[in-house]
Amino acid sequence: MSNQLDLECRQLVKSFGKFTAVDNVSLEIPKGSFFSILGPSGCGKTTLLRMLAGFIEPTAGDIVIKGNSMLGVPPNKRPVNMVFQHLALFPMMNVAENIGYGLRRRKIPQPEIDKRVADVLERVSLPDAGSKNVDQLSGGQRQRVAIARSLILEPAVLLLDEPLGALDLKLREHMKVELKQLQHEVGTTFVYITHDQSEALVMSDNVAVMNEGRFEQVGSPQDLYYNPQTAFVAGFVGDSNRWSGKIESVDGDQAMVALDEGGVIAAVSGTNSSMGLGDQVELFVRPEAITIERSTSSQDGAHIEDGKNTLTGVVENLLFDGANSRAQVRDQKTGHQVTVSLPQTGAFSDLVSGENLRLSWSVDKARSYVSSAAAKQEKAA
């Protein structure tokens, strides 16, 4: 079983003085998969990746690649390669020399190097770029050269540190697909770091959401999106409307939450654990889970109607974005702003600001999480 794993981390810790950048992280990455680590800036992603590459020694824990512990093994002896955030192509060499660098270091004969460089250039669709200078390439081409330079060494694991960060949006969208495709073809295990959730969701087989040095949740993109296990994941992955409130009553797996701003919402627990009466909770509802109707009724706060959570409000802003268009609706009573997706059928294409809307969503679409801030306060008290 364990030799099916390309990469394994066991209780990895890295501290800089008193500050713990990576806190007790464990992960297992099966062979040939595309694994992403997603987290906000400063959460410790790069630190973790640099430990995998060997540039930083862990404070505690172990890194195992293909069954061998990597502790004390220098970066040039590890069967992993890294694609740097700013690519780090060598400006003093042309494209072919850049890509052939690792093979030259392995003392492979030059004709063989030339052949393999040509092959890999072919694979990243830059067949004629070999003799070009690095600064003659476009951003996307450079990207591919950087990846080719690592891939040619056939590493067990390829580490990528936000490699798309420097590209413009359009190119980023394009490269996402291309990277995924490439990984599929070569079958190398990719460990991909990003703070952009869409990159992580689109490309990955598995994603780890990281926050303040810890893994919040590891799972498939669908799992993370539809079944977030912590308030952080629910808020960080995908867009959500957010309320805070207190649990008023519990009925089976449902609970009534009295919102701090007024009104009630029926919700299910986001985690597997059950909810306790009086708990301070955070509530999340995705914009696309909300059904809208035009309404003339008076302004009501959040309440339950026909077994559904219901809310009326006034359209404040229309955010047209083609299939991804949204409206921002203001609950006149509490002032809470709710974002809703407009149906792709175009049914509401004539919606204008100022119109009244009735919003409703089923109970199981409202996920509640015990608020960590509140939990801490209670402990302190």
């Binding site: 220098p74 390669n81 955030q85 700013h86 060598f90 060499m93």
Partner: protein
Amino acid sequence: MSSAEIAVSGTEQRSVIPTLKLGTFLLMLPLLLWLLLLIILPHVDLLIVSLREVLGYREYAFSLQNYAEFFTEPLYWNTFVRTAVMSILATIITLIVGFPVSYYIAKVMKGRKRNLLFIMCLIPFWVSELVRTFGWMILLRESGVLSSFIQWIGLVDGPVEFLYTDATLMVGLVYTSMLFMVVPLVSVLDTLDDSLIEAAYDLGGNTVSILREIVIPHAMPGIASGCIVVFMLTLGNYLTPTLLGGKDSLWFTEQIYNQFITRFNWESGSAFGFLLLFLSSAIVFVGLKLSRQTLADTVK
């Protein structure tokens, strides 16, 4: 493509120049005057002096004799060769010593410590070259600090003379030149992205190969400019070779000084001056060609 760009900017310039011309000229006037009066005119004067032969009191004739003498009298030629070889050697040693220091300053040290180290390279320059050289003399002479010290710890029985040898001269020259090597190297190494080194390491490079294939090619313009400055300074150094060098020590600038000041022979002094200028430029030119650098690269 780039030629098209040049053509475009060329036409642009042509249209702008007439309006700017007078203003620019007036702005440049002090500089031009300074160049003309203090640099060009004296050189022209020296050139004329170098091309004449003294026939008698205040009697001169045009002649290339002063230049011919340099090539026919082995003494002068040997002095020049010795000076050039010692300067090249001093430049190489300064580079070999200065490179790790610069690398350490630019890439390993951070914050306060880094500034401190940099300032330590500057300290020798807070005192004049004369004082600095006398410092070496006090340290190295037979009755000096170093000699006393190694007698005290029992390494030797009698006093040892460290002064007046080529090795001492070399130490003095390298010490004097250090800063002029370290400054361009630190600034060029500063611009080397750390991730390039890491990437090379990650791709299987080791310290030696990274140095050879990544760091040195990147630092080449800095190396070239540092070497040019150090070479020229060493070649033109007067105090250090005369004070630290031994009784056999010959230095070409000393020769020029002698011709001018103690021999009153301005004619050959000027000729030697021009020969020094041309021969050293030739050496620099060959050096640049060998390292495949251009002068423009080094001032980037």
